[in-house]
């Protein structure tokens, strides 16, 4: 099966829930397990939150989310035109946060890595960041 979607939303924190709910609804067609569904919701939530907090520094901007299904693999790309990441290696380190005084746990990338099969981060400082992550869903035994 093949399918795709695109969602563009303003970067306000109210939209985080909307974005992850849409991403979860997008793959319902594949009949995922509850665990897969909550893993994907969490990973998308982390990526969108990063775009809003770090990419746009909680200022106005647009977050673009695309989803693609090929067979039983789902791929999401979360893109912002914010400030970008200077040092991707460092940002991906567990417990590292760019906002130490903002009550952030620094676990965003670790969670995305743990919950998805692949995670790719492309970023240009001053231009923005795109996070591509994919996951192959288990075959249905029903």
């Amino acid at each position: 099966m093949k399918n795709e979607m695109k969602l563009i939303i303003p970067s306000c924190s109210e939209n985080e829930r909307f974005a992850r709910t849409v991403c979860a609804a997008f793959l319902l067609e594949l009949d995922p397990t509850l665990e897969e569904l909550s893993e994907i919701k969490t990973a998308v939530s982390e990526a969108v939150t990063n775009a809003i907090i770090h990419g746009y520094n909680s200022c106005d901007g647009q977050v673009e989310i695309t989803g693609e299904i090929t067979d039983r693999t789902v791929t999401y790309t979360i893109k912002d035109n914010g400030c970008g990441i200077e040092d991707i290696e460092k940002a991906r380190e567990p417990l590292y946060t760019g906002k130490p005084d903002g009550e952030r746990s620094g676990m965003g990338f670790s969670i995305m890595e743990a919950f998805m099969d692949t995670l790719m981060v492309e970023s240009t400082p001053g231009k923005g960041t795109a996070i591509t992550m994919s996951k192959r869903l288990s075959d249905n035994v029903r």
């Binding site: 924190s13 829930r17 909550s38 939530s45 939150t49 809003i52 009550e103 746990s105 676990m107 969670i111």
Partner: protein, 156 residues
């Protein structure tokens, strides 16, 4: 019977009104289950504020939990915070950050943080982040309070 005729009958209007209201009620109930809500109770006996959270905890809702909890801590003489996560349906790393923040507040006052009745998804996230080294995680509030008293060396 033609469709237009049926649509003009009382029976149809009744059917439609009932059907729409039932469907509307179902949608509202479903929304109610995921809508973010919180309820704060002060329990003087344990110098504890109990925060009952309903819905999804993300960057947006974690911010309101932080604001309300900090305000209650300042207003009352509570030093401990207990989070009832029984109705939390989703949490991401913003929730972890928020709990660590409350741990900092409570421990600066000499108190503790308890998180109880969390679902599997939330438990998994808390395990991943090693939160159990900082806060008391239990399945009921009573067990959490017992663990808290033990931590202080009070016999129960």
């Amino acid at each position: 019977m033609s469709d237009t005729f049926f649509r003009s009958t009382k029976a149809y209007k009744f059917h439609q009104r009932t059907f729409i209201s039932v469907r509307r009620k179902m949608v509202l109930e479903a929304l109610e289950r995921i809508r973010f809500k919180m309820e704060v109770t002060y329990i003087p006996k344990h110098r504890l504020i109990l925060v009952r959270v309903t819905g999804e905890i993300d960057h947006h809702s974690a911010e309101s939990i932080r604001r309300v909890t900090e305000k209650e801590i300042r207003r009352t003489s509570a030093i401990n915070i207990a989070f009832d996560f029984g109705s939390v349906t989703f949490m991401d790393s913003s929730g972890i950050g928020m709990i660590i923040g409350r741990y900092k507040t409570a421990s600066s006052l000499g108190g503790s943080v308890i998180v109880f009745d969390a679902n599997e998804q939330v438990m998994r996230l808390m395990d991943m982040s090693g939160l159990s080294r900082l806060v008391i995680i239990s399945d009921t509030m009573q067990k959490g309070i017992t663990a808290m008293k033990k931590l202080r060396g009070v016999n129960v």
